[in-house]
């Protein structure tokens, strides 16, 4: 299932999962705002919106309603960034700034790497730039595992519906 680790320098959280769908399908779920709206959220953090301008230099953002999760005193989460690398269906890199970070002026970087494997896709997400943000890092070390599991569930469930 999911593996998640923090790098020895305490700078990055790495989470990996195997998904039974083609990389193209997974990449779409990561870069299409309407799809993100459907899976990238939870009962604890209900989504308000997702915006995603899928190109290098494009911006994305999402916000949640007030939920039951609190990080650094924040319970309405706002996140935004700029797309640094966009190479479908292999690579997606964007900056990531959250209003719940220990230091909101610091840009962190999220890198999605998709590799075809065993008829499906191996997904690896690396969130770096966290060494000076112990509270956020602690939260992400559990958070990304939840995100990749929601991604897997969304893509695989839809695949079953389509094949029925």
């Amino acid at each position: 299932m999911t593996t998640t680790s923090v790098t020895p320098d305490q700078d990055a959280v790495v989470s990996e999962i195997q998904i039974s769908a083609r990389p193209e399908r997974v990449f779409k779920a990561l870069t299409d705002a309407r799809e993100l709206q459907r899976w990238f959220g939870s009962a604890e953090c209900p989504l308000k919106f997702w915006k995603f301008d899928a190109r290098v230099g494009g911006r994305y953002s999402y916000e949640t309603e007030k939920g039951s999760v609190v990080v650094n005193g924040v319970s309405e989460f706002k996140c935004h960034g700029e797309i640094l690398e966009f190479d479908p269906p292999r690579l997606l890199v964007y900056t990531w700034t959250g209003n719940w970070h220990d230091d909101t002026s610091k840009l962190t970087v999220v890198r999605w790497e998709l590799t075809p494997k065993s008829g499906g896709t191996h997904v690896r997400v690396t969130h770096s730039g966290l060494n000076a943000m112990p509270v956020a890092r602690e939260d992400y070390s559990g958070g990304w595992a939840g995100v990749v599991e929601m991604l897997k569930k969304f893509v695989e469930r839809e695949r079953r519906v389509v094949s029925d």
Binding site: G57, L84, S105, L107, V109, S128
Partner: protein, 153 residues
Amino acid sequence: MATSIVTADQDTIVSEIDIAAPADRVFRGICDAQTVRRRSPMLDVFEMDLLVGGKWRLQITLPKPYHGVSVIIHHGEVLEIDPPRLLVYSWFANFHTDPKHSSIVRWELTPTKSGTHVKVTHSGLASEPVACKDYAQGWPGVLKEVKEFAEKQ
């Protein structure tokens, strides 16, 4: 010559130039600390740790104050590096209205028949309109310097 445009939303500057030199030489002139200091001797400090997450810093003393500072300090972190094709770093400035606001500088180098096409994109400036205007005039000067230095080597 260098071209420079500001996007309609006043957020991003795109400046481009063609250089008659190979991409790896141009790349060094952009980010290798020793080479950059030779290229631009008026810089008091230029440091860049060339790996993702590495810090960089540039410092220059001005003959007269600019936006209230007599020493300009730019700094940030390397966000993406793929020599000699791509370099992306965050960019802060001590003279910005909000010195804690991060903008992003992206260098893209493409090999051409006669050398290298260089495109620099500076984004995230919508909240810094004064600096944006200055940078729009500043980047072509930087590109000209990079070109002249790379071509005379």
